[in-house]
C-alpha cells in the first residue's frame, strides 16, 4: 500500500514584519492554497494547524483558530506543537487521517507573528531551568551556531568567506522570490563588513525572525485522480524522529550534552538521523534528490545540513558550495527559495514553507529561481526539545 498523499495546493502569506495577528497570515495562506488546489473549503474535512508556544501567545489552538477564521464547516481539527517541526508534524497528522481513510482532503496551515522585544527567560533564581542557566552564564542563541561553525573551520578548513558565500548564494535566490522578506543581493564584502556577533558568525550569517504563514491542501491519491490532478507532487516521506541517546552535539538551551559513557551507547548526531527515516520511507537515497530546502539558522549550518542529508561526504559541503553545485543551476541546489536567510524564521509556518517551495519547484512554477527538471526534493529542520523533521516530496 502506498504511503503517499497528493499535494493539491500550496499557499503562503509573504514573510515580513507586518505587525498583524498570526491568524490573518494563516487565512491568507490557506485561501491561496485552496485556490491553487481548486478545492472548495467545504470539501476540506480535516484542518491541521502548526502551533508555537510562547507566553500569552494563542497559537496553541492553531487548528481550531484557522478553521473558525475560514468559517466553521464541521471539519475535524488538530493542533501540533513540535517547535520548528510543527508544520511537519501537522502534515503527518493530515497524512495519517487521509491514509486511514477518515478523510480525503485536509488543510495543513501554520502562521506566526514575531514577538515584541527580546526573548529572554523569566527572572529570579531558577537553576532548574536550562534556559535560565545558560543566559545567566552568558550563553545566548548565536553561541550554539557559532560553536558548530567554528568546529567546521578547525576540522574541515571551512572559512568565513565560505559562510559568507552561503549568504551571497541564498540572497541571490531570494531576490527572485516574491514571498521572501529580504530581497536584496549581497556580496562577500557586505557580509564581512557586518558586525561580529559570535566569532566566526557575523550579523549577516544569522537569520532573523519574521511574520509569515504557509499552507498546503493535501489529499488521497484517489481524490487527486478524480479531480484531474493525478500528476500532482506527492509527499513521499515524513520523518519526525526524536534524537537517539546519547546526543553528542550540545543543543540549545542545554549547558552540556548527554554522556555516552555507558556500555553500548555511542554519541550521535540528531540532525544526521532525521533524513535517514525519510529516505527509508520514500525508498530513495540522497543520490535521487534534485533540490533541498534546509534550515539555515546560520550560513554555516546550511553546510552541516548538506552533509547531514548525505548530499556530500562529511566535511565536503564547502567544496560543493565553492563549485557552485548548491546554487540554482548547480548539481544539487540548496535553498532555492532563499532559505531562512531571506525569509527569517516564522516557526510554525517554516517547515510548511519548505514544502510549499518544493511543490512549486516540482511543478516547474518557480520562475527565475526554478531548479530545472526537479523531480525529488527534501526538507530538513531542527528545533528545540528534540523536535526536527525531514520531508520528501516527489513527482
Amino acid at each position: 500500500m502506498s504511503n503517499e498523499i497528493a499535494i493539491l495546493g500550496a499557499g503562503m502569506h509573504p514573510w515580513g514584519k507586518w505587525g498583524h495577528n498570526f491568524v490573518q497570515y494563516g487565512v491568507a495562506a490557506a485561501r491561496e492554497a485552496l485556490a491553487d488546489a481548486g478545492v472548495p473549503w467545504r470539501d476540506v474535512r480535516f484542518v491541521s494547524g502548526g502551533a508555537t508556544v510562547r507566553c500569552g501567545y494563542p497559537g496553541y489552538v492553531a487548528g481550531a483558530t484557522f478553521a473558525q477564521a475560514l468559517g466553521w464547516q464541521g471539519a475535524e481539527v488538530n493542533t501540533s506543537y513540535a517547535a520548528c517541526a510543527s508544520g511537519s508534524q501537522a502534515l503527518a497528522a493530515a497524512r495519517n487521517k487521509i491514509l486511514s481513510g477518515e478523510c480525503e482532503v485536509a488543510l495543513v496551515v501554520g502562521a506566526d507573528t514575531t514577538p515584541k522585544g527580546f526573548l529572554a527567560p523569566a527572572g529570579g533564581y531558577r537553576p532548574e531551568d536550562p534556559d535560565w542557566v545558560r543566559f545567566y552564564l552568558g550563553i545566548t542563541n548565536p553561541t550554539y551556531f557559532a560553536l558548530y561553525a567554528r568546529r567546521r573551520m578547525d576540522l574541515y578548513g571551512d572559512t568565513q568567506e565560505d559562510f559568507a558565500q552561503v549568504k551571497v548564494k541564498n540572497a541571490r535566490a531570494g531576490s527572485k522570490n516574491p514571498r521572501a522578506r529580504y530581497r536584496k543581493c549581497f556580496s562577500v564584502e557586505d557580509v564581512a563588513a557586518s558586525a561580529m556577533v559570535a566569532d566566526p558568525l557575523r550579523l549577516m550569517d544569522i537569520c532573523a525572525t519574521s511574520d509569515g504563514g504557509a499552507a498546503l491542501i493535501v489529499s488521497s491519491l484517489d481524490y487527486a485522480r478524480r479531480i484531474g490532478k493525478a500528476d500532482a507532487p506527492r509527499v513521499a516521506a515524513i520523518s519526525t524522529v526524536t534524537p537517539s541517546f546519547a546526543s553528542g552535539v550540545v543543543e540549545m538551551p542545554d549547558i552540556a550534552t548527554d554522556s555516552a559513557a555507558a556500555a553500548g551507547i555511542e554519541a550521535q548526531s540528531f540532525r544526521a538521523s532525521l533524513p535517514v527515516k525519510a529516505y527509508e520511507e520514500a525508498g530513495i537515497g540522497p543520490e535521487d534528490v534534485n533540490v533541498a530546502e534546509v534550515y539555515d539558522l546560520s550560513t554555516a549550518l546550511e553546510l552541516d545540513w548538506i552533509e547531514d542529508l548525505q548530499l556530500a561526504p562529511r566535511g565536503e559541503a564547502a567544496q560543493l558550495l565553492r563549485n557552485g553545485d548548491t546554487a540554482i543551476g548547480g548539481r544539487i541546489p540548496v535553498n532555492p527559495s532563499g532559505g531562512l536567510a531571506c525569509f527569517g524564521e516564522a516557526v510554525p509556518a517554516q517547515a510548511l514553507a519548505q514544502v510549499c517551495e518544493l511543490t512549486w519547484q516540482l511543478r516547474g512554477q518557480s520562475g527565475d529561481r526554478q531548479v530545472e527538471g526537479a523531480k525529488v526534493g527534501i526538507t530538513a529542520n531542527q528545533g528545540l526539545f528534540g523536535h526536527g523533521s525531514s520531508v520528501i516530496v516527489k513527482r
Partner: protein, 144 residues
C-alpha cells in the same frame, strides 16, 4: 577588588577551592554521567535505574569548539559596565564522554583557542552582589 566572600553563582554545581570540579551524578547501574545532576531517572534508553551517586567530573578536557560573545546578553546575565566580550568553549570530557559549555577565563580570546586544545576548569567571578562575589566555572587553556 572587594573583600566580600566568594559564593558559587549556582549552588551545588561545582566544588570551591584551587582545584574545582563540576558536580554531577552517575547512574550506579549503567555508568551514565549527568550534568546538571540527575537523580530520579536514567536517560539511557536501556536503563531504568533510579539509583544515582554524586560525583566530581573530570576537571580537564579538550576543546570541542569555541566562540565568543560580542554583545551583552540579556538578564539574568549581569554584565560588567562597560561590557567586555568574552570567549566561550564547549569542552569534551574523556571519562564522562560528554561536552560541557562554559565561559573561557578572562584575557583569553578566540585567537588563542583551537579544537582539541587541552583545558582545565577554574573558578572566576561571574558578577558581584551586595553581599558576595558570585563565582562560576570557566575553562582555561592548560599551560604547555
Amino acid at each position: 577588588m572587594s573583600d566580600k566572600p566568594l559564593a558559587p553563582a549556582i549552588e551545588g554545581w561545582h566544588t570551591m577551592g584551587d582545584q574545582p570540579h563540576l558536580i554531577g551524578t552517575r547512574c550506579t547501574a549503567c555508568g551514565t554521567y549527568f550534568f546538571p545532576k540527575q537523580s530520579h531517572y536514567c536517560k539511557n534508553p536501556d536503563c531504568d535505574s533510579t539509583d544515582f551517586e554524586e560525583v566530581e567530573l573530570s576537571r580537564t578536557g579538550t576543546v570541542w569548539s569555541y566562540t565568543n560573545a560580542c554583545y551583552e546578553p540579556p538578564a539574568p546575565f549581569v554584565a560588567p559596565q562597560p561590557f567586555e566580550p568574552y570567549a566561550i568553549a564547549a569542552v569534551q570530557l574523556e571519562a564522562e564522554q560528554m561536552v560541557v559549555l562554559g565561559q573561557v577565563v578572562t584575557g583569553v580570546d578566540t585567537e588563542q583557542l583551537s579544537v582539541g586544545m587541552p583545558v582545565e576548569l577554574v573558578l572566576e567571578t561571574l558578577h558581584e552582589t551586595d553581599d558576595d562575589i558570585k563565582v562560576t566555572w570557566k575553562w582555561k587553556p592548560v599551560a604547555a
